[in-house]
Symmetry: C2
């Protein structure tokens, strides 16, 4: 009687003894090897159940050299975009039978990236997904340790690794063309920080659309993704009489722009139309509800795992590049020009 003693957890040898077989037979049962007699398998399974045996992944990893763990390097998973991407990655990885180990970068530089990669490879991950939205992080991909398969998400033209990304330029173009089609003479732009690849792609798409339509290209204002920076840009834009359409590089900043416009008495969409980017869940409830570009973060996460697992299991190293298209979501913040 008395309380159950805290015993050393059972190992394969214990199961083997209980079932009256060798440890190797237990291993075979666990790994679904074909050549095990049905009756033997049942006996082993029973012993496993009785003892509450759980296979030791660490010992397994030591000999197989595979940890069935994937490393994820990300930056500030508090932001909606990275958070959604990482969520998609985690779900897809688990579905594929892998664990996920996450490192969030605090510093953006090459050294931070190198630390993160050292950290993960040292732990013995089978592969790495790098969410590399900044130019610096993308460049740091060159430091990737050889021999560990990797996939970059939003990694630009990262030299040596496969890339999964949203077509940012197409998104910028979509937003701009929507505004142009509504009759606006030109479109102003509040961009993200210049060292972010996503910001750069959106600028490029916006510029391309304007040039293609032979319009004047205004100097873009630069924000830092935060609502506050959008607010500041919005105050500037509100003071300019000739502004009738603004493409803002993300929804958070667009919120700031809307706020500044409201304060300055600039009516949206009557006097100025505004388009955002991301389609965060809140954007449909802004005042007015925001026209924006939707990115399918879940799809990005899933695809990145697909690509990585393919590399892992085929052993091939063919560089893939998978581009997810964005979509325009029209709401009430855009209207025709007077």
């Amino acid at each position: 009687m008395g309380p159950v003693v805290q015993r050393r957890p059972p190992v394969m040898a214990d199961v083997a003894r209980e079932a009256g077989v060798s440890h190797q037979t237990v291993s075979r049962v666990l790994n679904d090897h074909p050549n095990v007699r049905g009756e033997t398998r049942a006996r082993v399974l029973a012993a496993i159940g009785k003892l509450g045996y759980r296979r030791n992944h660490v010992a397994r990893a030591l000999v197989t050299k595979h940890s069935r763990t994937l490393g994820v390097v990300s930056f500030d998973t508090t932001l909606y975009g990275p958070a959604s991407t990482v969520y998609g990655i985690e779900q897809a990885a688990r579905a594929a039978g892998y664990f996920v180990s996450i490192v969030s970068l605090t510093s953006i530089d090459r050294a931070g990236m190198r630390d993160a990669l050292d950290y993960l490879t040292g732990q013995g991950v089978d592969g790495i997904v790098v969410v590399a939205p900044q130019r610096a992080t993308a460049r740091a991909l060159a430091d990737l340790p050889l021999g560990v398969p990797a996939v970059a998400v939003e990694g630009g033209e990262a030299g040596d690794v496969s890339v999964v990304c949203v077509d940012q330029a197409a998104g910028g173009r979509l937003a701009t063309e929507h505004l142009l089609a509504l009759g606006h003479e030109t479109v102003w732009h509040v961009s993200g920080p210049s060292d972010w690849l996503e910001a750069e792609g959106r600028v490029a798409g916006w510029r391309a659309a304007l040039e293609q339509a032979d319009r004047q290209v205004p100097r873009p204002l630069t924000g830092d993704w935060s609502p506050r920076s959008g607010y500041e840009a919005g105050r500037v834009l509100a003071g300019m009489r000739n502004v009738t359409a603004v493409f803002v590089a993300n929804d958070q900043m667009a919120l700031g722009v809307l706020r500044a416009f409201t304060e300055q008495g600039v009516r949206v969409p009557e006097r100025v139309s505004v388009v955002g980017f991301d389609d965060v869940p809140e954007s449909a409830y802004f005042s007015p509800p925001l026209t924006t570009i939707r990115q399918d973060f879940g799809a990005v996460g899933r695809h990145s795992i697909e690509v990585l697992v393919r590399q892992l299991e085929d052993g091939r190293h063919g560089l893939e590049r998978l581009v997810v298209p964005p979509a325009l979501v029209v709401r009430a913040s855009t209207a025709g020009s007077a």
Copy 2:
């Protein structure tokens, strides 16, 4: 000459040979054992550098029985709250020298929790942090495997584990008392889903504040944290002439409420005051800027790791309960009653 051949990565024995010592001495250097001669240490370090040796954590974990990995179980890390908490946990864990393995629950039930815990313990984590905001998840903590130290975040009165949480009731009370102090007769409430502990705590705080001031307690409206559900609640409230103050259980829903009020011509704060909860980065730029309750998610994450690491390293199992106080942030969505 020629390209560097892709060799098997060096192991301790290789370093030992290179440095002319035994592998055990290499191990000692790596683990900062005191009794190694300075000159020997230097020679080993040089060999490590020359060969590019990296310690194999898996082999180490096998013999020490410590993986230096912490498991985190969370629910929908796309939401701002969980995302911020997990971010705080990850940062704190790394600072304490631990890896972090994350599992996001898709289903809320006991089975999902059990799977997640099996998953993590099978991988050999040293400890587990469970972000358990729902009643069901909290209840499932009872299933926690014995012998693995664990900490619950927002776990209510989870039986057997330490808990770190924000004082939700205090937050609800803070919001309600703020509105009462402004002269409102009573305060209406849009709550979160009833199976969330946080929602429950906020309701309790709100109710307590009203009862203490001897006010009528209206029937709360129930949402699901989403802006849409807030919008729907807002439409209902907009139709009720006697509503002058609303406490909404999170900022996202508060945004929906504001949107509904705007559409119905209900002016905030002139006719109705609104208080949110969370202080998401956007809330300062809502129309009007939202008065809300700030939760320090980073602190919650840090504390949970502190508690867990203490249990891990002291081996003690004393139940701790750490409560983080919330704070009122007054902005422009609240004003005195007419």
